[in-house]
Amino acid sequence: MQWEIVIGLEVHAQLSTHSKIFSGASTAYGAPPNTQACVIDLALPGVLPVLNKGAVERAIKFGLSVGAKINSPSIFARKNYFYPDLPKGYQISQYELPVVQGGTITIQIDGAEKTIHLTRAHLEEDAGKSLHEDFHGMSGIDLNRAGTPLLEIVSEPDMRSSAEAVSYAKTLHALVRWIGICDGNMQEGSFRCDANVSVRPRGTEKLGTRCEIKNLNSFRFLEKAIDYEARRQIEILEDGGAIRQETRLYDANKDETRTMRTKEDANDYRYFPDPDLLPVEISASWIEQVKSALPELPQARRDRYVAEFGLSAYDAAVLTASRETADYFEAVVKQLPAQAKLCANWIMGDINGQLNKEGIDISACPVNPPQLAALLTRIGDGTISGKAAKTVFESLWNGELDKNVDAIIAAKGLKQISDDSAIEKIVDQVLAANAQQVADYRAGKEKAFNSLVGQIMKATQGKANPAQVNAILKKKLDE
């Protein structure tokens, strides 16, 4: 039987507010345990939550970016359960009327676009951390993270492969960073995925029983966990078994998922509107204000790059993978508007390649947009060859000669020979010395042409302008 995998993702994006969602304590990462937990985070008797407007604003920002409905009023609800790192014995979250309702995300998959629908995105507070090591039979509780604002973004079960899920997660990751609501740091847990996975016979409508895989904190784990889980479910079904609805945990070391809790021991969270927080009224003018401050979104930029610069959809997608990359591209292309493809190729190739190799972000790229533009200008005006440009790029990267492109070209003697008469002279010399190959070419052996070009380039130490060499050589041979 042919199986179809059905995936929906729940992503927890930590919002980039300086203070917590219901208290004034700092959200900075990595402080010593419990130094960023105030009386409210500790849930002392009598304390009350006060909503951080910045968190709501970020949720609105997200909602507008995905074309969602912004609910007003929006309601905070209590999700009741006991756990030592949940100080109040309930998590303040949203149940009915989340800030963000609906919306879509467009992903690129196999060169085509696909629309993933969002169910909702709601605000909630993070829990603290339980530390089970180092306490000799006891557990330690660190409440620094308790009360950190999260936006839980829930998708519809619209994805059909781990590749689509990864593409969706990456697109979402880029978007939240793009609009500045989340730093996207997956190691620090700022962007965490839960995947709902089920399978069904291809061609059928009814969704299979799903399992939720918790806390996937890298795109690679997301992919591997989904692949493993889908295989597991298919095997069970093909053996005549049934899937049990449950929450599973992905073990990266063993590359497998295993049961965390079954539906039977699932909590009844007893959601009800939090009486300590009033319904949040989100006025049209507030929405308008947030909208006017939104940057141009990735999708809009992609479309513009195709229309304005004639780039392929693929190139446009790569360049808009992050706002920093797109901004970099725009800064370069501004100086070479006629050479957008050349700019794109260099950023996607040499720049990205070198950044990846050294593991640094484009915001810290040693070659800045004006420097790259200066380099590309020299290719465009024929001063240097594409090959020589690589050498110049390397020097720029290494910070030689104050990163002055012209100084580097001069110092390294990389200037192309673009003088027709100079090239003609060398061509004549090479033709005279290679009579056999000239004869071969004239006898129809096209290959001989390349060999002659090679000789000419060798004679000029690679500095002759290849286009001119080709033209002159062809002219002379065809005379």
Partner: protein, 482 residues
């Protein structure tokens, strides 16, 4: 000195006829002498109180006094006060010394008032007799066999027995007004949102409201002037222009329309209460007011609605008491679940457990719509009844309680009977309207009777005026059991 009103003491302090240190010492001495019998206070801290008294005397000497400067006020043990044991009447918090001040405590401190001690109360404010307190019951100063009412029973007793000049209370279903009535003092629950709930240990967040308890309406006005005020740390706190609650005290009552809900004058009210209320209404008619019969058809639903919503919120509010970070933790346990189970089983008394169970039940999957949602809808209907009634009258009156104080132990085995103590009072919590009780005489066994005055939203000044005019014409409020 201890029989003087807050107003009188305030004048004497400001005129340096007495010092706060003297006054505070006198009350501390009375507490030391009489509290073993009354059990009105859970915690007394002479050192902290006297330090505040000395500071108040300095404020007065420096000419920085305000009406409450130097006045000893008893604080209900539901308000967190920095450096004070704050138990909420529970074993669960029997070791909790608050590291911070409640909004209300801060306001009293800023005014230079003296915290004379933390008063006894029903555990987590759940009760109408003060019998659910982990620290034992409080006695009614008028009759030591009777309950003082609850949950602010210690506060009412402290004021009636002259152990404090005034006291704070909190009122979720009648917890200020019912004990005020049973102890023969005055108490007001302001409009929901006027008094900060920050640092006031939550019972039912949408119903809880702090308020003052004192010997007279005039004193209540002075106390409200300090207690009311916007607190940005409480999202339900209302941002309104400050008002002087004493401004209308002297207004004549001619033309006042008093609404008498027929549902509150029906079966259930005892004869002694009925006749005292009738006499009080006669007094109002003499003062120029007229009475009109009104109807609050959904009023009888207030108790069932209240006993769905209050436990629902309480079950969640009390989840933080888990023995993990503070409060009682069982000495031995096998694992995490066992620690929770034992700590909470040991830390909470039976009434609190009963309400957590009710609340958990009504919020459970499959019951939520039938109980919680339904109760919320009825809550709106009850509010609508009052809105309609206020088209026919300016203020509503009735009995605060159906009977005078019952005996200690009389109802403690019968929760339903106990819950009916709040039959007239809980509607004001459900609607958020201000309501108060003032003493209007004595009934069976010479136990006090309270008149319930319910006002429209933010009509506290008018209610205090109505109460004060009655107190100018009568002297029930000046009667003392000691």
């Amino acid at each position: 000195m201890f029989n003087a009103s807050l107003k009188q003491l305030s004048i004497q302090l400001a005129g340096k006829k007495i010092s706060s240190t003297e006054l505070t010492s006198e009350f501390l001495q009375r507490i030391q002498q009489l509290n073993p019998e009354y059990n009105a206070f859970i915690t007394v801290n002479e050192e902290l109180s006297l330090a505040q008294a000395r500071a108040a005397d300095q404020m007065i000497a420096a000419g920085q006094a305000s009406p409450l400067t130097g006045i000893p006020i008893a604080q209900k043990d539901i308000f967190c006060a920095k450096g004070w044991l704050t138990t909420c009447g529970s074993k669960m918090l029997s070791n909790f010394v608050s590291p911070y001040d409640a909004g209300v405590i801060e306001r009293f401190n800023q005014a230079g008032a003296v915290n004379i001690g933390k008063t006894n109360m029903d555990e987590f404010a759940m009760g109408s007799s003060n019998e659910t307190s982990y620290y034992g019951p409080v006695k009614n100063p008028w009759d030591h066999a009777a309950v003082p009412g609850g949950s602010s029973g210690g506060a009412a007793c402290a004021v009636a027995a002259r152990l404090a000049c005034a006291a704070t209370g909190t009122d979720t279903g009648g917890s200020i007004r019912q004990p005020a009535a049973l102890c023969g003092i005055s108490g007001i629950k302001p409009t929901y949102g006027l008094v900060s709930r920050y640092g006031m240990i939550a019972f039912a967040s949408s119903l809880d409201q702090g308020g003052p308890m004192a010997k007279s309406a005039e004193d209540l006005a002075l106390l409200l002037n300090v207690m009311v005020g916007f607190d940005p740390r409480d999202s339900t706190s209302l941002q309104r222009e400050a008002e002087d609650y004493a401004r209308d005290l002297q207004k004549p009552l001619a033309g006042l329309r008093i609404g008498l809900p027929k549902e509150y004058f029906a079966a259930g009210m005892s004869n002694d209460v009925a006749s005292a209320i009738e006499k009080a209404l006669d007094e109002y008619r003499k003062l120029g007011a007229q009475t009109v019969e009104i109807s609050l058809p959904n009023a009888p639903l207030a108790i069932p609605v209240y006993y769905v919503l209050a436990p629902a919120e309480a079950s969640s509010n009390l989840s933080r008491f888990d023995g993990v970070r503070y409060g009682h933790r069982a000495e031995s346990y096998s694992d995490l679940a066992d620690m929770y189970r034992k700590s909470r089983a040991q830390g909470f008394g039976p009434e609190v457990k009963r309400r957590i169970l009710i609340g958990t039940y009504v919020l459970s999957h499959g019951y939520y719509d039938a109980y919680y949602i339904k109760a919320q809808k009825l809550r709106r209907l009850i509010a609508q009844d009052f809105a309609d009634a206020y088209r026919q009258c300016d203020i509503i009156m009735g009995p605060t309680t159906p009977t005078v104080a019952f005996n200690l132990g009389e109802k403690s085995g019968d929760p339903i009977q106990m819950y009916l103590s709040d039959i007239y009072t809980s509607a004001a919590n459900l609607t958020g309207m201000p309501a108060m009780s003032i003493p209007v005489g004595f009934g069976d066994k010479n136990r006090p009777i309270g008149l319930h005055i319910i006002g429209n939203y933010f009509k506290e000044a008018q209610m205090l005026n109505v109460a004060h005019q009655y107190q100018l014409a009568t002297d029930w409020h000046n009667q003392s059991p000691v």
